[in-house]
Symmetry: C2
Subunit: 341 residues, 2 copies
Amino acid sequence: MATERPRPVTLMDVANEAGVSVSTASRALTGARRVRGDLEARVRTAVETLGYRPNEAARGLRMARTMTLGVFFHELTNPVSLDLIDGLGAAAHEARYSLAVTSARGDRSQYASLFQHLYGQRVDGLVLVWPFGELSAHLALFVRAGIPVITIRSQRGVPGLPVVSADTTAGITEAVNALAALGHRGMTVIAHGILWTPPASRRRNLDLATEAVGMRLRRRSSRDAGLTVREIVASELSSEDAPTVFLAPYAEVGEVIEAIRAVGKRVPEDVSVVSFADSRFGAAALSERPAVIDVDSFELGRRMAQVLVDAIENGPPSEDVRIQGLARWVPGATVGPAPHR
Amino acid sequence: MATERPRPVTLMDVANEAGVSVSTASRALTGARRVRGDLEARVRTAVETLGYRPNEAARGLRMARTMTLGVFFHELTNPVSLDLIDGLGAAAHEARYSLAVTSARGDRSQYASLFQHLYGQRVDGLVLVWPFGELSAHLALFVRAGIPVITIRSQRGVPGLPVVSADTTAGITEAVNALAALGHRGMTVIAHGILWTPPASRRRNLDLATEAVGMRLRRRSSRDAGLTVREIVASELSSEDAPTVFLAPYAEVGEVIEAIRAVGKRVPEDVSVVSFADSRFGAAALSERPAVIDVDSFELGRRMAQVLVDAIENGPPSEDVRIQGLARWVPGATVGPAPHR
């Protein structure tokens, strides 16, 4: 025994151990046809004794599937990705699929090789997360082979690719209404860095929600203007219609608060600060969690995988999937009533 | 054409398109035997035209491999995991393997099902990251089947499981020497939360490095004592031999700095603050990056996957693998000369 080359336990081993035929062992395990009670018990005992597990890869082959969902990330630097992977993995596991994770590490020249690899491995479906730029050429292989592809945001150039997204309407409306009820009449959104390339729907929802309550909304991007966050905050606060709320990316909340203090104002007595939080990890380095519009990325990942598995097993969804209830307003110590002017 | 069910392009399609036999097409592509130059060119053209890719899953089957590396995470909440996944994926891709990522979402009752799934999918090798507790029962299946398993830290109960780890000796020594050169004679390490369950080697290296320069080292754990970070900092700074340096987990650096300021001291004029940084993402919410002992988790992941692929293809490593050069001292604005007493 000790010198025997290790190998996976097969159904034949189980049948030998139980003293039954392979087909009896198979029937006992799949329940395809009735097996005498005592024989079934012997097979079950043999399975436990030997630690036998059915070969899922072989099962996949019989179904012409590899039982694998591929995930393509442009890069893995945003903690949101961790929640998405966790959620995708949870749903994949429930449906008995594996999750093959790939990242281009921010390098578009890696795309061709990675997509060819995913295709070569014959993933049964593909999730694209944060894809930038044109992907049609890479996706043609998958589309031609009938492998479902879904994405977390719209793709120009790949018409008909279903988009699964969190509907942030409710969360954003709730946040804006809460701020309006506190007397706030002007908000400036600070855009900065890759963590803050907001989906168009967030922009639109913010426009609609602020318009509905008559709140002024300005957008300032440090990237476009070549300004630092500190310079933007200072210039906004010195303007005649200075905002009383800043909406900033999570990674820049600390910087915005310091910039407000640098011009002699207090948070939240003079100015409130709000952010989007897409990740359970978030900015743990902040001693106090800022007020956030919380988006449950784990649940988004879970639902994406469910949509993909459904597409593999029952055909692609006929339209985009917008998931409700993933965004909600969570007040925090960085928000207070608007100051009297 | 439009109503034809989409399917992957096969070698037979290529052969038909090129007007050659399947075996000629195969020889042209594998280079196993010489093929007439004009025939080879026709096959190459057909490959491009049709977008043919060899079926890696089928190739894996011929080699009795699935060309998949499994990764098991206890949970995916630490951004370090993102760097590890990225590094593991980079090396896996180079070696033409896929990376199947699983997470128990912090729930040990998920272990059995996840390990059975990984085994059932016939991963060719397995990486365990942050596994807590006893894993022997789950790993028996893999060990018996001769599937290599490596881990990022020691496993009690699984003797002989190779550990791949970053050798932090150089980085820690460099940091302690730099602090000693700035006049610091006392350091307190604050342990708190799951982000800061330091590998035994880090503790040992810290002991050795501080001893070598005659620096006092104290450890305080907020979990054991039921104290807040703020209470620990206050009590340490009021002691007779108060430390002039705190070493804190990245996620608590902001809290430590605020606690120091709360007792009327300045950073770094009165007290310096140092951390370990294991992730490229890190605490981006801090406006200034603290002085850190930087550990390159991406590279650690890359090397782990390389060790695993080597184990699959050439047999397991004979001993633990300690990777040099992944830890280095990076000074920052939170560190200054020790104050005169």
